[in-house]
Subunit: 367 residues, 4 copies
């Protein structure tokens, strides 16, 4: 059913609510004999951790991950890996007043309609806090990929936020890790910060576009027709809170192109096929080409804002909702490490699937 | 694993190659006691069928669907339904010359790299012909939805094609079925046709954007966190050949909005909650709100064109590829009934999942 | 959901009713590049085919299997393989009289209670005829295993039928294929035949025990805790019509043993570990040891007999049921090739799973 | 893949090793609005808990279960329920000496061959300790069944242990909970205890047969052909440590019966069909009849005994293995609550599946 599970052979199930005692991920199908420890996972959680600068929520959570199973003397054993993150800074009282109210643009109302009840503390299961568990699972995937695919690199970065847009001409892969916005153009970061702070002061929030790139993905990963690499990447990204659109390669802009402009011409290189362009985003027919895999997605603006919005109570009475508490003015920023984690999980999953069905390495030869 | 299977409780597996003896869909999990016959399915296949006008491929296929199992005396029995479509107009010779060549922008090369061999006749498994099987499965889903959710309506239409764009001010739901482009603006169709024919004459093709809307979807369908309604819709659309981007509601444009502009305010109506807008596309937290469910996706231009493109052969030799044969100048047109079918399958699947986990109808009451 | 699907990575979905136009199996996840054709599959179907001698049903079905997809120029392509068997000798009139009656010991009543309707022609979906599709799928699995695991051999045989029991002291592996009862003791076959014919003349039927052995299964297949090799074998056998019990190795008799008697002692052989006995049936902790994998199951006597049994009609009226038509006096005989097919599918599935998660071959070394 | 996951719609994944910090079950698909708390689950864990009398292992574990997610103010919310049991009495030193040795009849060697390493502390993942997590998950299933199917009752009991066998003529349903062997014949318990203690003193162990009965299961649960109720029950029981055989109803003895003796005749009762016998064990064609569902399974004797057995080390050297530590002389005793838990999970799962595909209640009417 996979309703709270992601993946085929490398699978994880996340559990936990924003203000419950803990949350985590149950990872199944991890290959054995891979070196892993809590510190390796923690580096990715630290990247996502809230309260690190004034551009994200001020909630203070150490987000310390514990490995409860599946690892023995620093190596994966092939059995399920339980990753647990305890919640410490919960402040349930911030949320008590809206337990019987539905915030516009938020999952409050749909959880209520579906289940008849919900955990209102901090958004419960629908909180972006769930994504901490994904980042932990993604850390495991990264460790395995590091062992199986030397040279593979996965990086996410912001390309737009409200009125701000990345200048692609200034793209700098190495700059990404050097600013609070994961911008591949470090010089642009102060302007983005000013813009975001002005919105925050206006009691508002804003959306964003994030791009994730995987370099060094072997050719041949993915499978027709419903287990395509791009299908799973689209599902992976769309499953992240607040995501409203997903693109592969050229994305929505492909609609404007002609076939002659869109075709990525093929040449024979030293080590196999090379391509004149990458409109395809590294995927043809659902299977990786060996080029960079490029995924992009849009995150809607945070619904929890201080600007009053009209809504109703559980009794059907009209009410004006103002959401206090500590919220991200742009959830796109912290979505970056989450999307990287999902990308890592999808690629590892398809690597294992390929190995299972076909064997090691691409099967077809060219030249 | 679901690599060629789609769905959770209502599931279908498609099989078959473009120029093999037949293709079809094995549908599992269909509720019993639903009236269904081949004519009901055929109406949807006829909508997708090639060769009906000069805007689509000239391949002539009756696409006659046969029900081989799971239906007794005109009613579904709850057992697997096998839907088979025999191929008749195959002309394998059109494709023989490119069996050892990789068409740029096509899955030829990735199938070869992955599997070491491929069925080159008409694109084999990667052909858009596979979508005929989806339309048949979608016909079953529509019949069941008709029985379980009176008033539910699903319609797809084109909103953009290369330089052409729908004028939303002229949107007419009833016009959709009355022109070859499934345009909600019948008066615009001739201009779209002229544009497409000029591209065809220039030996080129073009991309498109398709939108699919489901009206009358009950609130409460979908599930956190990986079995979300929007996650499954994104996977459904991305799994269609040539799709490069998927949007829900506001889609990629959500990145430009502020939280105050994006929030769909909630009011109490006669029959439950109503909303001041539908930026969310009918889905919050992965669960349907009861509003229209709105999905949009971009289709890249057909790779198979008469304009020469540079590529390589299986021996690694350079070659200029010109794809003859009978191809759609814009695959977006025939993607419309396919996307409707996928939408129907996803909604039915989540309806059954909801019924299984929660029971009939929404569980929460408001007012 | 897998309600009509079996397997994880190597999966098949069967479809079709006893007297519908056709039945078959949709096989997904088959490795590419394996030589296969219809004749290879037909040999196994011929082994299961009815009407070949007087010990099985007299229904005449050629059971000719057609490959409709997934194979190109005699090799698997890695895409779904559709295997179809058309029904020819249906005689629906044999069954018309009991359409509104429930045969004791038969699925008539439970299908009716569950679904509200059923296809009564020949038992519809609950007919043992469904197992023809499994045998076809098993033929694919055997072909792949032949390519991947040289020397692997799978054989089923009868060990008991009513009062008849195999004399293990006379066990002869090579005799199995040389008598109508798949007995590893050819000299015993005439007595078994006399016994069965006397039951048939008495308008009765009888149960049986079948054993299936796989020789040459690599060590390391299977996985804790719910995807164990023995768990999947138990499910595989229990899913066959009329099966009421499944045993691995010592089976139910393990309950009578002490730990000191049951332990299979381990010794170091030329090529790795060897064992002093095989109480375990080749599986420890759900994972294969490298010894023979031994599964045994009991089949209940055919419910469709000429001896009158008391029952009720759909209206709740009492009735005496006498089942005419052409039925096997002992379904255990034809269950032999079916069980072999299921064994082949399970072993291949776990081989691919192992390759996916762990890589080729056992990972641990001894000595 | 479900390698460490069990179930379709009601699913749980267990995680954790015998001597790791904790173990548990991640339960997904639980219906919302069901009252549940830790005390309700604890009662079942207490039933399975070791060290309660001299017939089971002397390891002292409180087995206190904590609910970490999915329950709010005492009610299930429909989101994943994490159940965690911390390990307290681990004594790793008991096992250190055999870390490089393979115990005969134990999963040590197969884990090593498969994964290349294993957690040797207390058997790691292959320890029967994993079943504590199942009992916790089963407690959730029982709570839901209690809400959805009033009157449903599930009880397991021993029917054989080595030379001891239950006298069916003395069967007393109410006696089951009143003796340490879960015997439906309380007067027999002292003899069973004497027998077991004599084996223990002889440094040996013994196997057992356990039977589990579910009374009050609605008709219509289960589904052809691979998601049958009996298929899932067989998998459920076979997945329990040390189980070597599973029977439904008549079980292996069905092989000895004739069709006329085996048929359960049907009569019309006040409230629907009634049956003259229950050879079928409450399941026909994989679907429940409404009669008692009867499952039986054999557990092999504990491999960990003080009697020396010959084996090899990881270096391939011969060694005599004597397993000290605290082990159950008959694991069948503590398998009783585990099997009950699995039965509860399977029945709930099929209840939800039925509700999803067919709707509430049986669909067909009789009379």
């Amino acid at each position: 059913m996979s309703l709270n599970t992601f993946g085929h052979l490398f699978r994880f199930t996340t559990w936990g609510e924003s203000h419950g005692p803990a949350l985590g991920a149950t990872v199944d199908g991890c290959p054995p004999g891979v070196t892993i420890d809590e510190a390796m996972l923690q580096q990715w959680l630290d990247k996502r951790r809230p309260g690190q600068n004034r551009n994200t929520t001020q909630r203070q959570e150490p987000d310390a991950v514990r490995i409860l199973s599946g690892v023995y003397e620093g190596q994966t054993t092939g059995t399920p890996i339980q990753l647990m993150i305890e919640n410490t800074d919960q402040r349930s009282r911030d949320y008590g007043e809206i337990a019987r109210t539905f915030r516009p643009g938020h999952a409050d109302i749909t959880y209520h309609l579906k289940y008849g009840l919900r955990d209102p503390r901090g958004g419960g299961r629908s909180s972006a806090r769930e994504t901490a568990a994904r980042v932990a699972a993604g850390g495991v995937a990264r460790a395995v990929l590091g062992a199986l695919v030397p040279g593979l690199e996965i990086k996410g970065y912001m390309v737009a936020m409200g009125e701000m847009e990345l200048d692609r001409a200034r793209f700098d892969w190495d700059a990404i890790d050097r600013n609070d916005f994961w911008l591949p153009d470090a010089a642009a970061a102060p302007a983005w910060e000013d813009y975001l702070q002005s919105l925050r002061k206006a009691h508002d929030s804003v959306g964003a576009v994030v791009e994730v790139v995987a370099r060094g993905v072997p050719a041949g990963l993915g499978a027709p027709v419903y287990g395509k690499l791009d299908t799973d990447l689209a599902a992976a990204m769309m499953s992240i809170n607040a995501v409203k659109g997903v693109e592969i390669g050229e994305g929505m802009a492909a609609a404007r192109l002609t076939g002659s402009a869109n075709a990525d011409e093929i040449f024979m290189g030293e080590n196999g096929p090379e391509y004149g362009s990458n409109h395809a985003g590294g995927i043809l027919g659902g299977i990786s080409t060996g080029q960079d895999v490029v995924v992009r997605f849009a995150v809607k603006p945070t619904s929890s804002i201080l600007t009053p919005r009209r809504s109703i109570t559980i009794d059907g009475q009209p009410i004006e909702v103002v959401t206090k508490g500590r919220h991200d003015p742009c959830v796109g920023i912290r979505a970056v490490p989450v999307a990287e984690a999902m990308m890592a999980c999808v690629i590892l999953d398809h690597l294992l699937l390929h190995r299972g069905q076909v064997g090691d390495g691409p099967r077809g030869r060219i030249g």
